[in-house]
């Protein structure tokens, strides 16, 4: 069958296609509004989608192994909350951030062990920890946001700028570069692709498949926790509903960026561009003053069209 061969050849091109979709969409929006293509708007948009994009970096690695992580939103929310609690209790900002990231680690280890040691399907395992995390947030907050006092130096993480670029965007860029290198140039990265491509063959070749899986879940949760800490630093308020429902958006970002939920295929860069595309559309519908009730339908439709064009283009332009 041509099918598989074909998909494989595209792997390296997918990011490129989504990038083109991103640019075309941007041009389209700026045809109708002068407010889109301004430095401040673009920076604002980037900051807005940076959290989804950061989380999608972890997600895409999980997806490449053939798994899924539904608990990213909970890990993000709970990490922000625990950071806030630490500030509230008077701990130093380093301790607070460490505690937040620790939440991510705990999530990741739990997910990873449920999946590798017990053998739960990733969907069930991470849906369970999603509920547990969300429930813990309600138990802690009773639905009331936590707004402790924080030092100014902490707010830099979420609110600062490096030149014209917001710090969360800088963090996103750094993570993108690091994880692109990890996924394409290191042993670990190759093993992630091998695990998702053919788990048995990988195991027989000596890849420690269980360890690889554990690692990607830990990475995914910890990266999400980092996103949670950044979100808290940005809003200085730990919302009980923070991160709620974000898993679908994060997975969508990875999938738009070319990752296959069947595993083996995907890229960090693609996922980040996918998140950017979603963020751009969300910004566009507000700038274009589209009726709020129609926004969701339009967002859905535009994403479908963008990805369809991408898929069809590949099919046509592909090989014989």
């Amino acid at each position: 069958m041509g099918g598989l061969r074909y998909l494989l050849q595209l792997r390296h091109m997918r990011e490129f296609n989504v990038l083109i979709a991103l640019i075309l969409m941007g041009l389209l929006i700026s045809l109708f509004t002068p407010y889109f293509l301004t430095v401040s708007n673009l920076m604002g948009v980037s900051r807005a989608f940076s959290l989804t994009a950061i989380m999608s970096i972890g997600m895409v690695m999980v997806i490449i192994t053939g798994g899924i992580d539904l608990s990213v939103g909970s890990a993000m929310g709970l990490a922000g909350l625990i950071t806030a609690l630490c500030f509230d209790a008077g701990y130093s900002q380093y301790a607070a951030v460490a505690a937040g990231l620790g939440v991510g680690l705990a999530f990741g280890l739990t997910n990873g062990l449920l999946i590798t040691a017990i053998g739960l399907p990733p969907f069930i395992a991470t849906l369970g920890t999603l509920s547990i995390g969300r429930g813990m947030m309600y138990m802690i907050t009773h639905g009331v946001p936590l707004t402790p006092n924080t030092p100014d130096s902490f707010s830099v993480l979420g609110q600062g700028y490096l030149g014209p670029v917001p710090v969360p965007v800088v963090i996103l860029l750094v993570l993108t570069v690091i994880f692109t290198i990890i996924m394409t140039r290191t042993r670990f990265g190759r093993h992630v692709y091998a695990t998702g491509g053919n788990e048995n063959a990988a195991r027989l070749s000596g890849v420690k498949v269980e360890r690889v899986k554990l690692a990607v879940y830990v990475l995914s949760s910890t990266i999400s926790a980092l996103a949670g800490v950044i979100a808290f630093s940005r809003y200085l308020s730990a919302e009980p509903a923070s991160g709620f429902g974000s898993e679908l958006e994060v997975i969508a970002a990875a999938a738009i960026g070319g990752a296959s939920l069947a595993g083996g295929i995907g890229s960090v860069l693609g996922a980040v561009i996918g998140a950017a595309l979603i963020g751009e559309i969300a910004n566009g519908v507000v700038l274009l003053n589209i009726n709020t009730y129609a926004q969701q339908a339009i967002t859905g439709g535009v994403i479908l069209i963008a990805v369809s064009i991408d898929v069809l283009r590949n099919r046509m332009g592909g090989r014989g």
Binding site: T33, T38, Y138, E239, P240, F244, G245, N289, T292
Partner: protein, 285 residues
Amino acid sequence: QDITVAVVPKVAVPFFDDCNTGAAEAAKELGVKYQWVVPANTQGSTQVKIIEDLMARHVDGIAISVNEPKSVEGIIKQATDAGIKVLTFDSDSANSGRSMYIGTINKQAGVTMGNAMAEALGGKGEVAIVTGQLGASNLNERIDGVKEALQAYPDIKIVATEGTEDDLARAVSVTEALLRGHPNLAGIFGISQVGGPAVAKVLAQQEFADKKGKLKVYAFDDLPDTIKGVKEGFINGIMVQRPVTMGKLAVEHLVAQIKGEETDPKDIDTGVTVVTADNLGSYTK
């Protein structure tokens, strides 16, 4: 004998936490068993399931803030028929045969908000509405109230209405985009609880420094960040309801009905207070 009452809010938000405080206090004072059951989402069907479960548990009284008036009608009738006392608070289901309603009239609160804004704007300018879940009926009632009030001011134009799913992050980016897309915007209504904090945070950014004081902002609910926004001058006024009072009254009236002390209950309006920089320290919930 043992009396058990259950209080069912719409969702887990600060407003209802205050209700819980009031209700729990009243229950303790009256020496009755008290159960606080928060639905996992805002769909009518979820509250129907909860009432069913509470009926199975044989509670004696239920106070509920209704997410969707029509869908609970049947089950409230069933509960009443089964001898359970049911009243509504904060959000009503008028045709359900509940014994009474305790709370604010949301539409009225919206009118108050609209008038306050109109006054602050001197009767003209572009305004935008930032709401929460698009499907939440209390928020929609408030919006109706705002629109009704603004009808008297033809020079005030509502240029946008945006939903935020009650997510602060989304609210912040929507507000930013609103300010960029409507440079002449003169006022923002924060219809749901995220509106106040979101606008205050956006206005605190360097990019929008020139908006401070010029942009009139009215919000709902006294979250810490909203209060802070008032103190720092980003927010002109907050519509504050009386959740603690609502919770307290709800339990008191339920128990009175169960004991047969109250036979002809009447609706109670708990009213709203417009909190501004002037009365920030002195209002009661």
